[in-house]
């Protein structure tokens, strides 16, 4: 196999094979170098590692449980172990990355944090970490997204963050990243850009992977405890790819463990309305790294589409591009309809409402079972909980159709 152990990747310049690197304004190169030095020093420092571990345990509620979903397992014909990141503080795996980067921010002596957010989940997680550490927090959010996710705007403001509407471009996540980068270049002396996914310029993809790799490391240990052996495969959803890279990092050296990432195919990747970057995108450069992206013939970024805001991004982390190219991991598309069906199935069989993002990984199970054959033992990253998605689910399934509700009340 043509991949190296995760610790040796990326190379010194941040490349995963031909992916990754730094496609950034020169003004940010020295700050990125400085960030990399602080991060590498911190990871080698027992004090930092101890502090980070304690934060994860005492504040975020980690390690998350590995839960065997027996009734759900029966429906898919496999033994399904769910990595319960949905039970973490703030309701998703993202707390790992924000606590790691916020702790690093304090070590760097910076007082201000900026972040981008799409649906608001990373913004809420960042605002949470900043409140915990007493850091000044500014979150950039597309104007379109602010309207769609007003509740998360309220949460961020409640946590003391300033939310700035982004009115340029498509007014969504990618434009929020652009605006955060513009802020960073002007304020880098006292400001850390707390990027929310395993993408962007080096060292972000490697750093975010290392802050989230607890998902995979814990899952590996827990699977060995539960089954006495490694799983046949590990599954996760992929937008930018932070929960997936965290899960995969724990199993990369175990060649017997197949790795599957599930991308958002929206209305179907063949319709053009999707976010399945690896499945249907081409190689290019966006937001600081070479990877797969959705672009037109002239290299202009295309808008992505997914029912899941957390996967609605036209790029993907460079390590995923590399894992796809080397064949170490397999990336498959899941449509909105498939994801919603899986969401409902988990809710009804296990009493767990998953985030729509995570439901993409669940929806991938039947295909993996068919491919592996027998009754395989599979670990799935349940990256987040579905409370935030109830509005979308209610509309999709017609749960609270107003006319129906009125009729029901009248009947009584």
């Amino acid at each position: 196999m043509s991949f190296s152990a995760p610790d040796s990747m990326p190379d010194a310049a941040g490349h995963f094979g031909r992916f990754g690197g730094r496609f950034m304004p020169e003004a940010l190169i020295a700050p990125l170098d400085e960030l990399e030095q602080h991060w590498r020093k911190a990871m080698a420092d027992d004090e930092f590692v101890t502090q980070f571990d304690a934060l994860l345990r005492e504040y975020a509620g980690l390690p998350s449980r590995l839960y065997e979903a027996e009734r759900f397992s029966e429906t898919v014909g496999a033994r399904v172990l769910l990595k319960r990141e949905d039970l973490n503080h703030t309701g998703a795996h993202k707390i790992r990355n924000v606590l790691g980067q916020a702790l690093l921010t304090t070590r760097m002596g910076k007082q201000r944090v900026i972040a981008e957010t799409g649906a608001g989940q990373h913004g809420v997680a960042t605002a949470t970490a900043c409140a915990y550490f007493g850091l000044d927090c500014t979150v950039y959010m597309g104007e379109v997204d602010m309207v769609r996710q007003a509740l998360n705007v309220a949460r961020m403001r409640m946590l003391g963050a300033q939310v700035i509407p982004v009115t340029s471009g498509s007014r969504t996540l990618k434009d929020a990243i652009n605006e955060a980068l513009r802020d960073w270049v002007a304020n880098v002396d006292d400001t850390h850009y707390l990027l929310g996914t395993a993408a962007g310029a080096h060292p972000f993809p490697a750093m975010v992977r290392d802050f989230t790799r607890g998902i995979g490391d814990e899952a590996r240990t827990q699977t060995l405890e539960l089954l006495g052996r490694l799983p046949d495969a590990a599954l996760a959803c992929v937008g930018g790819g932070s929960n997936a890279i965290g899960m995969f990092a724990g199993f990369l050296p175990d060649e017997s463990v197949r790795l599957y990432g599930f991308e958002a195919a929206g209305d179907g990747y063949e319709t053009g309305r999707h976010a399945a970057t690896i499945t249907a995108g081409q190689i290019g450069v966006l937001h600081g790294a070479r990877s797969y992206l959705l672009q037109d013939e002239d290299g202009q970024t295309l808008e992505s589409h997914s029912i899941s805001a957390g996967l609605d991004y036209p790029g993907v982390g460079p390590e995923h591009a590399w894992l796809a190219e080397t064949g170490r991991a397999t990336y498959l598309p899941i449509t909105d309809a498939q994801a919603m069906e899986a969401m409902a199935l988990l809710a009804k069989t296990e009493g767990i409402i998953p985030a729509i993002e995570s439901a993409h990984a669940l929806a991938g199970l039947p295909g993996v079972v068919a491919e592996l054959g027998g009754a395989p033992e599979l670990v799935v990253c349940l990256s987040g909980r579905g409370d935030k998605d109830m509005d979308t689910a209610a509309k999709w399934f017609g749960l609270v159709d107003e006319a129906d509700l009125v009729a029901e009340v009248k009947m009584k």
Partner: protein, 267 residues
Amino acid sequence: MTSVRSTIEAAQSVGRAALIGYLPAGYPSVDASIELVQCMVKAGVDVVEVGLPYSDPVMDGPTIQAAAEVALAGGIRTTDVFRVVGASAALAPTLVMTYWNPVERYGVGRFAAALADAGGAGLITPDLIPDEAGEWIGAADRHGLDRIFLVAPSSTRRRLEMTTAASTGFVYATSVMGVTGAREQISSAAPELVRRVKEVTDLPVGVGLGVSTRQQAAEVASFADAVIVGSALVRSIANEDAVSAAAGALAALVEDLALGVRGEVER
């Protein structure tokens, strides 16, 4: 055709700084941008930067972002940019300023060949550092194109050495830590950056980001070899509805800036 470097040095030899003007291709339309670029040269710009509109311009402030959005909404294609370059290069050395992905998507070698065919002089690459530019450096050499990289106040001495060694034409010094856009004052970091660049290279140094007035042009001309103006030019045409009026406003500003780079300040 006169090279970018010799044009800047010719200005220096008569005791002034060169004036480099930026306009985005396709703004407000492809044909209008051709007219405006030519108008800019006739009014006194020495070297032209044609911007290639891009969907995610992270180095640009609101003025140039808005212009790029108009150009993209108007359906501009990469091939149209070469047409604007061709029309401009007939009058003055002309560079393309572009984010990297459109070049990579077009094909680096193919882009270089098309640019050279159009008479273009080279590329300014705001998000491509020499560390990642191996393919472009090779293509530029094959087609005789200048490769102009940026340096910033945050650049270390080692990076200044490496970046200037990889540059031809001139060195683009960004005067502030920030994005493009007119500013009230010239950053105090600019003269210091130019001094540091001069320590490591003989190439001319152009200073950009924030210059919008004759007074500021004169100030920058006192310590740099070339004065780069972008957002202020875009703003001058953004305020006008008719292309003829835009051209008039643009020419007036360029004439004023041209006096500035000659050290002629208003009293």
